[in-house]
Structure formats: structure tokens, C-alpha cells
Amino acid sequence: MIKTTGLGKTFEGGVEAVQGVDITVESGEIVGFLGPNGAGKTTTMRMLTTLLRPTAGTATVAGRDLLGDAREVRRRIGYVSQSGGIPFGTPLKDELELQGMLYGLGRGPAVAKAAEVVAGLGLAGLDTRSGETLSGGQRRRFDMAFALLHDPVLLFLDEPTTGLDPQSRANLWDHIRTLRAEKGITVFLTTHYLDEADALCDRVLIIDHGRIVAEGAPAELKTGGRTLDDVFLDITGRSLREESELSGKGA
């Protein structure tokens, strides 16, 4: 479902955010993409979702060439960004209708599909409201609804549960598992919650300093009675990244 070879991104000024990343994700997998702040998670995610142009490597996403056929990639993927995508002051049903129509649905089918997806996520009746009147968990599920309107085969979730209470997190996990079980959707998600990756993901990739430094099923990585947190810290170190960067600049 995702195949990258030497994928890289160097920003203007020479900052190499992602350096030659090779990723393979099979159809139907739930894969966690982990890493400390600034490791390259979001940059990689933005490249795979066509929002950022890679400066190196090749990638096939949802069966289409990322650089040569970006529009077809967009048709086949859903994406929930860290910031979500709900503007305040607009009824969500209007935004859902717009989103469906931008994916090529007619007005009637867009409205019908939105109602179906909203009901499936337990949000029926809330779509007449605007974003600012909803709880964080409800907003996050609406973010998912936007990403699911066109029945994507691959769903990208960038820190989907950040800031949510335990109940809302567990609820979102259930919805992600259901999507995979009922629709066979492949999920590629980033998270800082390692318990989330452990509970939800078939496989995790750990990125640090723009390179993949570990990969495997959570159970395979947790050798010697370690938790996934222990594994993560053993691999990426315990120093605060912001402090390291400042020290580096100071030096």
C-alpha cells in the first residue's frame, strides 16, 4: 500500500528533515510511525499525502506514483492532520458536503455519504453544529469523518489522539480497528503515545534524525521484558531534543 525508496526532504537552507527513508506498508496493516519531536514524522507524512514535495527518492502510495500521479493518490487516501480541519463558525454538515464534492461526489450523494459516515462514527445529530461547540473527542471524530467521505483505501492519521481524554482515545482506537475490520482500510499513524502504538498497531517504525532506526511488531521489539517506552528511549536516547539542538547551536 505504501512503498518508499530513499525518500528524502531537504528544506531550503540545507536542513535534511528526512534522509533516505525506506518504508513498506502492506494492505490492511495498521502501522505506527514513532519518533521524538523533530525526528521527521510529520515531514514524512506530509510527503506521503502529497502536501510536500520530496527532494529525493521515489514512492508509491495506494498503488500510484507519488510524484507522477499525485491527484490519483489524493483520490485514494484520507488524511487527518495534527491540527484537524474544522473551521469555526460553519455548520459541519456544510463542510462535509463541500469535502465530499471536492472528492467528486454530487451534492446529493455527498450529503448522503456524510450522514452515513457521521452516523458510523457516533456523531449523528451533531453535524448541524459548528466546531467550537463540540468536545475535543467529537471534533477529532469529525476530522476522521472528513477523511472517510470518499472511502479511501489508505488512511493517514497524524497524532490523532493528542489532547484527548482516555475515554475519547479508546473510542477512537475502536473506530480505527472497526475501519480495518469492516472495510479493510490500511492505517498509517503517528503518535507520541507508545501505549497507543502498542495496543493499536500491527507494526511500528521508529524514525530519528530523519532516518528509520527500528522497525517491527511491538511484541518483537519489546525484548527482555522491556515496554515499548523502554525500547523507544533505548533507541532514541533520553536527552530532550530541544536542549540537544540548543547545545549544538551553542557549540
Partner: protein
């Protein structure tokens, strides 16, 4: 591309209608100039000279700050949500600027209605031709405003634009024709495209159509539109895979 533009345009119009008070507020400043400055101006000038200036002022204020909308969309993530759909990148721009143009037309009609009540007498063909120029100008300004909003730090957008708009209004000759200005100021004002548009509007409002001033205004408006839309489209398309 046309379908996506229409979908976004219709969505934008619905949102604008929901906030209809905003349309009136956008026109308040030129309306105040019309009502409180117009009677003074017309002791030595004419409504046909003043009103085109206020229309250009309206365009610069209303469309120049159109980028505010996309700042909020960017902040909420809504813009990124749309950019990951297969919708045409150009449509993401055009749908928005066409909605802004409708807002400008409504505001201009409002301004003209009050101006007619106060004494403006412009011929219908001149008004119609003037409207075309104003719509094209509005689309161009909105496209440029979006490009700036998506390029600079979002916190700088308001101070930068409100600072830039004032000299542009003054240099266009909105309040007094630049022919009355000292030579150096008159020369500087020729850099501003809005001066040419405004002078063309004044000619049209006085029933003079086939003049070099109108021709210059049309050419500058078209060139300005081409440049602004190209910049806007490039910014909306920037960094996509």
C-alpha cells in the same frame, strides 16, 4: 477545474450570506467618506470624481484584506484538508476570489445607491463598464491578498496589509485626483496600478469611453489581474507533490 471552482464558490457564498453583517461592515469606511466627506468635496469637485475613488478605496480595503479568511482556514487546518483532496489547486484559489468579487459587487452597489441618493449622476454604460473593471480589480486584489497571507507569518498579515493599503489608497488619488499633487508625488503615484484603474473609472462615470485614459486603465487592470492570479495560483500550488 470549473466544477471545483463552482463548488468552492457556492460554499463561500453560503458562508458570506451567513455573515451578512460583515458585508456591510466592509463598506462602512467608504460609506462614511461618502456621507461625511462627499458634501465637502462637492463644493469644489463632483460626485463623479469622488465616487470612483471611494470604489477603489473599497476594493483595496475589502479585497486587500481578503487573505484574512485563508489565515483562519490555514490555522484551523481546513485549507490543508482541502489541499489533500483531488480538487484543482487553481480552483481552491478561484472559488475563493470569485466569492470575494461577489462581496465587492454587493458593497459597490450599496455605495452607489447611497451616492445616487446624494447626487451622483453617472450614465448606465459607464457604470456597467466600471463594474467590470471593479470586479476584475477585486479578483486580482483578493488573489494577491491570499498569496501574501499564505506566504508571510500569519501574525504579520494584518499589520502589513493595513499599512500597505493606506499609501496605495492615497497614491491612487482616491480622495483627490493626483493631477492636483506636487510633481514628485504625482510621479510616484504612477507606480501604483490603482491610479490608472481609478482614472479610467472617473472617465467612465463621466460618460467618456473611448479615451486613452480608459484604455490605459483597462490594460493595467488586465495585466495586474494576470500577474496577481499567476502569483496566487503558484502560492496555492506550492510544495505539492
Amino acid at each position: 477545474m470549473l466544477r471545483d471552482t463552482w463548488v468552492l464558490f457556492r460554499h463561500g457564498v453560503r458562508a458570506t450570506v451567513r455573515q451578512k453583517v460583515g458585508i456591510v461592515f466592509g463598506a462602512v469606511q467608504p460609506l462614511l467618506f461618502l456621507v461625511l466627506f462627499g458634501p465637502i468635496f462637492t463644493t469644489f469637485g463632483t460626485w463623479e470624481t469622488l465616487v470612483p475613488g471611494l470604489i477603489v478605496q473599497l476594493g483595496l480595503l475589502s479585497m486587500g484584506l481578503a487573505g484574512f479568511g485563508v489565515v483562519f482556514e490555514k490555522r484551523s487546518g481546513a485549507l490543508e484538508r482541502m489541499r489533500v483532496t483531488p480538487a484543482s489547486r487553481l480552483a481552491l484559489l478561484l472559488g475563493r476570489v470569485l466569492n470575494n468579487a461577489v462581496t465587492l459587487v454587493v458593497q459597490t452597489v450599496l455605495l452607489l445607491a447611497v451616492a445616487f441618493a446624494l447626487g451622483l449622476r453617472a450614465p448606465a454604460p459607464g457604470l456597467a463598464a466600471g463594474f467590470v473593471l471593479v470586479v476584475v480589480l477585486g479578483i486580482s486584489l483578493a488573489a494577491l491578498s491570499y498569496a501574501i497571507a499564505l506566504t508571510i507569518n500569519e501574525h504579520l498579515f494584518a499589520p502589513v496589509m493595513s499599512t500597505a493599503v493606506v499609501p496605495l489608497i492615497l497614491l491612487s488619488g482616491s480622495f483627490l485626483p493626483m493631477s492636483m499633487a506636487p510633481g514628485w508625488l504625482d510621479a510616484i503615484s504612477h507606480i501604483s496600478p490603482f491610479r490608472y484603474v481609478l482614472e479610467a473609472l472617473r472617465e467612465l462615470f463621466q460618460g467618456r469611453y473611448l479615451t486613452s485614459t480608459v484604455g490605459a486603465g483597462v490594460v493595467v487592470t488586465v495585466v495586474f489581474a494576470a500577474v496577481a492570479l499567476t502569483i496566487g495560483a503558484r502560492v496555492f500550488d506550492r510544495e505539492n507533490a
